[in-house]
Assembly symmetry: C2
């Protein structure tokens, strides 16, 4: 019988299924979907599957979902090209990412519109199995506060506008899923109201909002926080700011860049204590230099210097990161008391729930997409499947057999 | 038989004993000590006790211990007089305080020395049952950081000095129990080392110490934080400061002014979430204006304006408080998820443990001092006993019977 590469059987390893961990388990995959998960002792063998036998100590986890990523491997969403997006979808599985939001920058409207169009085109015509899936667009700016611009170009910032957003959402074919904005500049929270009505996530970020303004924005529909701590009003004991709101308001899902550079490990532990894995979402916020050598790179028309894991616009301004999701995943277990299951929640389940795609992604369960990451005994990525097709297999390794 | 006023029997009410709550309980008091606590059904009556019958809904809790109080009712520790200290020990039971640390201010050495001598004299010769007990002295400054002086006079600040401290401790007859200082100005943490060796609490306060400096100070013997959030380095995500250390370092007991003015209620909830009632100690940091009318009062030779519960040195600088312990006690239950038992820990048990007097104070248990607060159904103070003698009984009330 001819082996069907669409039908896979993963054997052995600790399988982190949605409701259980199988310490020596199996996963059956057919037509890009998970069809069965269980303990190896329960498996009825069949020759219709290509088998992937895992050594002892390997783990199988749901594919990671990066809802805040600008670029990787020389490519950036703002390049507005099919080639750039193809580079992203092909490169990201190496770090365990199986789906993501292509994230735009604050640039002139024409450049943003080109990026929206290119991404939407890619999603409707080029998206394919065996590569990371673009789940939509994260519009980071231009509706932000100049006081908290960070690496977003100051002269391209615009006041929040429902009309502008409508125009852009039409160009994107309704693919904008998340908007980072400064609520304090949104008159009567008009844009937040509009986004809420249309099922789009409003996120406070690059903002000087007070604690009470965040509260009002929550009433209007705000449900998300962009890269906690970075470029936002901090915690003061009489004005708790966005940081205080992130800590205290259960309505908010909270992005965190867990590279240990944007936020110190001890403060990541603090955020984890307070916010917990119920509300944290790990992101990379990475730029095109990720996977490339140290050097100088473009970010929104600006020169960014990358060296030793830091991307700097100038001496004091971090400009995105070169963090990989697999490192966000291991770092959080190193920096905090969170375990593997906890890291899975923050890299896969929570972003899937927040994007309302948990019916098909975000956990290992029957009838969900076979977006799967296989980690070796050191929690490094051994192989990644996107919708059941091998998107990455470590070259120095040959554990895969027929 | 003649009633002996030294022998009391409190009957009824919810009695918050050390290890249990008796919903309809009793406490026997003889010679200033608690001799028995139990459920009313277990009581064997005797006519040798004067009985205090409590209505339904009243509660009995351990006397509160205020380890950071400058003054009350026109009197201040820095007045350096027996009359001032007598006013303090007589007034404080009204707010539920049965013992405290008389707290000095940053002033010129001569003034501090007079206050140390006066307090030590009072403790050795005037201290009496039926008034709040002075447990020692809290030396707040002058070893602090000018950048975080707050209401402490700038020109009186001194560099931490073991020699100066030794001289003062001799004057105080070893009654200095707690020293607020800026560790970053203490060369090689010499004073902190010295205090640790002599069983005196070092507290970081009025300080710009970094997170790592607090860590080094902990290694040297630091174990306490003076009024969390106020006049200290705040939480930054790459420099967590003293606030971050208070949140994360389990070695530290942490003072908090829970008036809702020094720290916003939401941030008090946050501190409670993070630090818990295991490490928080509620204090008043009150000044002489407490229990007096709005107006202008002296604090360390400076004019402080008191209005509507706020004591202000100028528009931006809080100068101590007019908070009462009984309000700290109820506020914390209003601002946080902490309950009555939790409030008891933070107002009585924790300060007693930190001062190493838990063998005789800090809970209701046999053979401990009968320092007892009776709260009415609104948690207001109905009566306070200091070592078994009535120090306060609300005038409009006559529940006490023979």
């Amino acid at each position: 019988m001819t082996l069907n590469t669409e039908n896979l059987l993963i054997l052995g390893g600790n399988i982190y299924a949605e409701d259980d961990v199988y310490e020596n388990g199996f996963i059956k995959i057919e037509n890009g979907l998970i069809t069965e998960i269980g303990d190896l002792s329960q498996l009825t063998h069949s020759d219709k599957y290509r088998e992937i036998n895992l050594p002892h100590g390997y783990s199988v986890i749901p594919g990671m979902i990066d809802i805040h990523i600008h670029g990787v491997n020389g490519a950036d969403t703002m390049d507005a090209s099919q080639e750039a997006l193809d580079t992203m979808t092909k490169t990201l599985p190496k770090e365990g990412t199986t789906s993501f939001l292509a994230t735009t920058m604050t640039e002139e409207s024409g450049a943003i519109e080109k990026a929206l169009k290119a991404t939407s085109d890619y999603m409707s015509s080029r998206q394919t199995e065996g590569q990371a899936e673009i789940l939509g667009i994260h519009l980071e700016g231009p509706f932000i506060n100049p006081d908290k611009a960070g690496a977003q170009p100051l002269n391209r910032i615009q006041k929040p506008s429902v009309d502008t957003f409508k125009h852009w959402q039409a160009i994107s074919q309704d693919q904008i899923k998340l908007v980072t904005l400064a609520p304090e500049l949104d008159d009567e929270y008009e844009l937040i109201h509009y986004l809420k009505e249309h099922g789009i996530i409003s996120s406070v970020g690059h903002s000087s909002a007070t604690f009470d303004e965040v509260g009002e924005a929550i009433d209007a529909g705000l449900s998300h926080v962009t890269h906690l701590f970075n470029q936002m009003s901090g915690l003061h004991h009489r004005e708790p700011g966005i940081v205080g709101a992130s800590f205290l308001r259960e309505e908010l899902m909270v992005e965190l860049i867990s590279d240990g550079i944007h936020v110190r490990p001890e403060v990541i532990q603090l955020a984890f204590n307070q916010i917990s894995d119920e509300r944290l979402i790990l992101i990379t916020d990475s730029m095109r230099a990720k996977c490339l050598k140290n050097g100088q790179y473009d970010l929104g028309g600006q020169v960014v210097t990358v060296k030793d894991g830091k991307a700097l616009l100038d001496e004091d301004t971090l400009a995105g990161s070169v963090l990989k999701m697999k490192d966000a995943f291991t770092n959080i277990q190193e920096f905090t008391t969170g375990d593997m299951r906890s890291a899975i929640k923050m890299t896969s389940e929570n972003p899937a729930r927040q994007l309302q795609v948990y019916d098909r992604k975000g956990s290992l369960a029957p009838l969900k997409d076979a977006d799967i990451v296989i980690l070796d005994e050191n929690k490094d990525v051994y192989s990644t499947l996107c919708k059941g097709k091998t998107a990455y297999l470590r070259e120095d390794d040959t554990h895969e057999t027929n």
